[in-house]
Symmetry: C2
Subunit: 387 residues, 2 copies
């Protein structure tokens, strides 16, 4: 037997004790217990019949949560940002124009990603605690004649929800695709891909779906799929929707290997979708609305201000709250984490130093959790050292 | 409360009974039991201290399995192909030249990926059941003066293992980076990133590491990191090693958010690395060598032929076997799957219709499993209907 001399010795990786807080930030969220269990289901391969059944289950579940009959629906093997990069790089090529409606940090990411592909971007901005009127968007569409409009439905950095109903029709009237980020909104806020005329959408599993990060559902309209099938440019291989449509059997005619799918994540996503199907979307939306309405009443009783002035702009999954003058947002969230074992977040991007971000979503969208967070905040507000 | 009319009704996703076969193909492999358990560990976020400890554990474990003291070492949030796309797109830009040493299907994938970035590729081929001599590679390096050479260490489509010792020095003498795929070899075959002068390497978790797919370890030499830090081109955002170095704290100075990491996959990879560290690399290599040597003796007793003529070219994790004239490879593997509940694979790419591919790796690299596969093959060879 050969002997080998190692130049790097084995590390000593020990288990440490730690306490997992209740996850009440803008994500990741805690998992459904059934999803934790599903992660440990057996690894199977494309040579096992059940593998394709899992794929088919997931596609049916995704069509349900996106409310679409489109065929080009599957999950990207990566986190939410891989979904963003997928829809941008598949639909737009060099020198095409992407109009970005910006009111938070994620649309800025879309700008960074688009620029890497030589896509020209035009950014229109709204104050970060507001949303866009369709008139404003139509003026910009008319002026810039973009290939596509990118907009976030929910924005986890600001706690706003954008009205999208009818926006697809406006985009199409101006020859533009409508691209939507639903990472922090889907399943927590009503969303209708087909009725609203959305051409490309992605979401992520670690928000209101209460699943693990690492797999990112996407869907394309027929209008978008036609563009993809006739485009001149090529996206990254790993994100190529044309090839992934074959792996995911989107058109019912082929199941071709593209890359090795992560079975634990497929099982987990499938179980998230079962949870939503069992509850039904309208009840999931109503639960998120009711939990957040209750939480907002508690916040108002504490005389705290919402960052987002208009109630109709406030997202059902993430609430942004302004603390009274003098409070340090970072100290405040850390106090609540350390004292109550509840994790809420300080601001991000445009809201740094301006708001707390509290997520009540998925398995944590309950009156009990809302009360626990509100009680912790009441406790923290009494602590002078956080001023 | 608002009422909503759904256009797509909830699917009925039911659990079906199915039997998971013993996974003895070229991958994915079965999981270590401890890794299955680790998948269900708590989801934590970057705002929990333990999150960074997990990252640090993983980086230390990856430096061990790659045998490197390089700093730019982390895991891509995607399957093995995302590792391939990461090293190619980070290191080479448009019009640079990638020399590809081709003897299987994965180097062909490297060619497809490189072409998408405007990288010029030059392919030199060896018969698929052989490997390259360093003299042949040096002649090509001297002739084509490429920016980098891409080569696979183990090739799961052919069952060969390439001698890499000293190849880095040859590449560097000709000003080229050495890029290596170790997806199916790492932990099963000796590999020394630093000693062999490898500049960029990736692997995957679902092979000899016996973990779930979906996370792809990568490492870059200082020579490669310098190029990345001074390059003119930009890779996909999701794969950008410059940004990921900050998320993974590769230089010990920052832990900046890039995308949401998948905690179940991080916990699982960490546990895979603990299993390797506990066994130690030399013992893991020796176990894979001994299991496969035993299996090869059994194959020779059946008078079957190896696809790879030279014993030193045969991979310790995947064996390719030629059946006697007249056998149908697909019928053969299906018979063994259905009769013995053991999954071996038929050929892929250059070996379609030419070989069986049998993987004995990770948790399944044991004498017992080798005997179970050999016994099943003996049984199948008696079945005339497979002819």
């Amino acid at each position: 037997m050969a002997t080998y001399e190692l130049t790097v010795s084995a590390p000593n990786i020990e288990d440490r004790s730690f306490t997992k807080p209740l996850l009440c930030g803008p994500g990741p969220c805690d998992l459904w217990p059934s999803v934790s269990e599903a992660l440990a289901k057996p690894v199977i391969t494309p040579l096992c019949d059940e593998h394709y059944n899992v794929i088919d289950d997931i596609r049916a579940g995704l069509q349900y949560i996106f409310q679409t009959r489109n065929k080009l629906v599957y999950a990207v093997s990566g986190s939410g940002h891989s979904g963003m990069e997928t829809i941008i790089s598949n639909l737009l090529g060099p020198n095409e124009v992407l109009l970005i409606a910006s009111r938070g940090i994620w649309d800025q990411r879309a700008n960074i990603i688009a620029n890497r592909y030589g896509i020209k971007t035009i950014i229109i901005s709204a104050p970060f605690n507001t949303t866009f009127s369709h008139d404003t968007l139509e003026v910009a569409l008319n002026k810039h004649k973009p290939t596509a409009l990118f907009i976030t439905h929910g924005d986890s950095s600001t706690g706003t929800v954008q009205n999208l109903k009818g926006l697809g029709e406006i985009c199409h009237r101006h020859g533009a695709f409508l691209l939507v980020d639903t990472v922090v909104s889907l399943v927590g806020e009503p969303f209708f891909m087909d009725d609203w005329g959305v051409d490309a959408v992605y979401t992520s599993t670690q928000k209101a779906l209460s699943g693990p990060a690492g797999i990112s559902p996407v869907a394309f309209s027929q209008f978008a799929a036609d563009k993809i099938n006739n485009r001149k440019h090529e996206p990254p291989f790993y994100f190529d929707a044309k090839l992934l449509a074959q792996q995911w059997n989107c058109y019912g005619n082929t199941r071709q290997y593209h890359h090795t799918l992560s079975l634990p994540l497929l099982w987990a996503l499938r179980q998230c979708l079962r949870e939503v199907a069992k509850e039904t979307l309208p009840k999931s939306w109503a639960r998120h609305a009711a939990t957040t309405a209750h939480f907002h009443r508690r916040i108002q009783q504490m005389s705290l201000q919402f960052l987002v002035p208009k109630p109709e702009d406030r997202l059902a999954t993430v609430t942004t709250i302004v603390l009274p003058n003098g409070y340090d947002y970072v100290k405040f969230y850390k106090y609540i984490r350390d004292k109550y074992n509840i994790l809420i977040f300080a601001g991000l991007g445009p809201t740094v130093g301006k708001a707390l971000r509290i997520g009540l979503m998925g398995v944590n969208s309950t009156i009990e959790v809302a009360d626990a967070v509100a009680d912790a905040m009441m406790g923290a507000l009494k602590v002078k050292s956080l001023l």
